[in-house]
């Protein structure tokens, strides 16, 4: 089932909240995301039973959440993108649609600072529990030490014009 039919069925269901961006990608607005996700998974025509990846991208004005969906039965793919406001990124969790979203969202939350409303286990996944700041944001300044352990090592092969921190 190629991309145009997918967009047609989505538009039939959700009207203008779903717009077609690049080939294979659809842009949806954050409020609707849970309903769209449930629809994609349960509709027999679309049958997107697998969420391949949920990634966050930090753009200057907005944080984009990108969902890569795949249907093992129908063998077709779809990318759904939503833009969130950068200073207060909030989106409802997709955990009860795809269970794998649980860990993807925890990782996206701690690395990009996105708040997933209704998430069952909002602890930090990869970073230590008392880590400050969101590392994957563009304006993130890495701390030089953590609990007294310094991050930078003297670069023995220093260049005269100021050695970049290795």
């Amino acid at each position: 089932m190629n991309f145009e039919d997918i967009v047609k069925t989505l538009k039939a269901e959700f009207g203008e909240t779903v717009k077609e961006a690049a080939p294979g990608t659809v842009v949806a607005d954050p409020g609707e995301i849970e309903k769209i996700a449930l629809f994609c998974r349960d509709n027999p025509l679309l049958d997107f039973k697998a969420l391949i990846a949920l990634s966050g991208v930090d753009h200057p004005g907005r944080i984009e959440i990108v969902l890569h969906l795949a249907s093992y039965g129908k063998k077709h793919f779809l990318v759904i993108k939503t833009a969130l406001d950068r200073n207060k990124p909030e989106i409802s969790t997709l955990e009860n649609v795809w269970k794998t979203a649980n860990w993807h969202e925890r990782e996206c939350a701690e690395l990009l600072g996105v708040l997933f409303k209704g998430h069952s286990d909002p602890r930090k996944l990869l970073l230590p529990d008392d880590w400050l700041g969101y590392p994957l944001r563009k304006d993130y300044v890495p701390p030089t030490e953590y609990h007294g352990i310094s991050h930078s090592r003297h670069n023995p092969v220093e260049k005269k014009r100021g050695a970049p921190p290795s």
């Binding site: 039973k49 697998a50 391949i52 991208v57 930090d58 990108v66 093992y72 063998k75 008392d130």
Partner: protein, 387 residues
């Protein structure tokens, strides 16, 4: 005493108050059976576990942040370090992503060389997976035999691309080294030697009754549960879902080879139990041998790298390219802003990350010895989970 142990982490809010008679055991980061550095907090009642709370992140090197500070071509050696057992798959996926983004065409011979290196790497990775799983169950000998077979593969890749583990064999637009004349013969020689050894391995372990009883019907994962938790690769196929990127989303030259996809058929118990995952990996090794033989015969002549500028500046855009790695789908979502020669964002999707997330839900009422068997059967590799 228990509360004092976990005072600073607000674990207890997640775990309910441990009932009298329950014990919190730390299957800690330095435990022999967690492949790499993982930590399970087991809430057990004697041998039977009520819950296994995984703690990951010990090996988080922030590769995605690193990607934003290195050039497109310079990031290739880092992709080996994501999953050191399947370095070739990571290389190929990254190379494909950037080639699709920048529109470079990979010559025919380079595609074949990539497939050959990828299949060799898949056999080597499955050797370690099945071997270490047998070792976790208690049989030490198969692991050492499999590591010996892997030595032959390391010697072959040493000659092909110079390194035993972190190949760094792909380049954007092709491959770094050409196949030496003598190496094709050596690979075929090794394949003839290797196939009877798999039969011997089957006689030694796969059909061993104690091994079967230790694994059959242990944590069977249903197809629907596997897709829901995003399992990929051999774990997914063992649950009966017929999905293999090499055939369903054909990339590179895989559509020219005929090989069948191994599915879990409940060989000695439920479909999708640990024994199925083990047997699927062993059978997949045989399939890879078939692909290798066909690829070596059909290897065309020609140059191995297309003309690519030294500093790559792809246009604005984003791509997602995925490869069937030994541990499932390994995908790169690369976003470029068209201006700088460094990727704007690289998201790496790995198989072990989702395989690790299913362990917590499986661990209800399971014995500790079985938890060791599940981690082995799901073939979780710590660096791939934490990136």
């Amino acid at each position: 005493m228990i509360k004092q142990e976990l005072k600073n982490i607000d674990e207890l809010r997640i775990l309910r108050e441990p009932v009298e008679g329950e014990m919190l055991v730390n299957m800690g980061p330095q435990h022999p059976s967690t492949h790499g550095v993982l930590n399970f907090l087991l809430v057990t009642d004697g041998e039977v576990m009520h819950r296994a709370v995984p703690h990951i992140g010990y090996l988080h090197r922030g590769i995605e942040k690193l990607a934003e500070q290195t050039e497109y071509a310079g990031f290739m050696p880092f992709t080996d370090r994501i999953d050191y057992l399947a370095a070739m798959a990571a290389n190929q996926a990254y190379a494909m992503a950037v080639e699709k983004l920048a529109g470079y065409v990979v010559p025919e011979r380079a595609e074949f060389l990539r497939v050959i290196a990828c299949e060799l790497n898949r056999i080597a990775s499955h050797l370690v997976a099945t071997g270490s799983m047998a070792m976790d169950i208690g049989a030490v000998t198969p692991f050492i035999h499999w590591i010996r077979e892997r030595e032959y593969i390391n010697e072959i890749t040493e000659e092909l691309c110079g390194s035993r583990l972190t190949y760094n064999y792909c380049r954007i637009g092709g491959v770094s080294h050409d196949l030496p004349a003598t190496l094709a013969g050596k690979i075929l020689l090794w394949l003839d030697h290797f196939e009877p050894i798999i039969d011997e391995f089957d006689r030694l372990i796969t059909h061993n009754e104690i091994f079967v009883h230790r694994l059959a019907d242990v944590c069977a994962i249903s197809a629907q549960n596997a897709t829901g938790y995003g399992l990929v690769g051999p774990n997914l196929r063992a649950s009966g879902v017929d999905w293999d990127l090499r055939r369903d989303k054909p990339y590179s030259v895989y559509d020219r080879f005929d090989f069948n996809i191994v599915l879990g058929k409940g060989f000695r118990g439920a479909v999708g139990d640990s024994y199925d995952r083990f047997v699927v990996r062993v059978l997949e090794m045989r399939e890879s041998c078939k692909i290798l033989r066909q690829a070596l015969v059909a290897l065309p002549a020609g140059e191995i790298r297309s003309k690519v500028p030294r500093v790559i500046k792809p246009p604005v855009g984003e791509t997602y390219a995925a490869v069937e790695a030994p541990r499932g789908e390994l995908g790169y979502y690369v976003v470029s802003d068209g201006v700088s020669s460094k990727p704007y964002r690289v998201k790496i999707r790995t198989g072990s990350f989702t395989a690790m997330s299913i362990i917590e839900s499986l661990s209800k009422g399971v014995m500790i010895a079985d938890l060791v068997a599940i981690i082995g059967s799901l073939d979780v590799v710590a660096p791939e989970v934490d990136r």
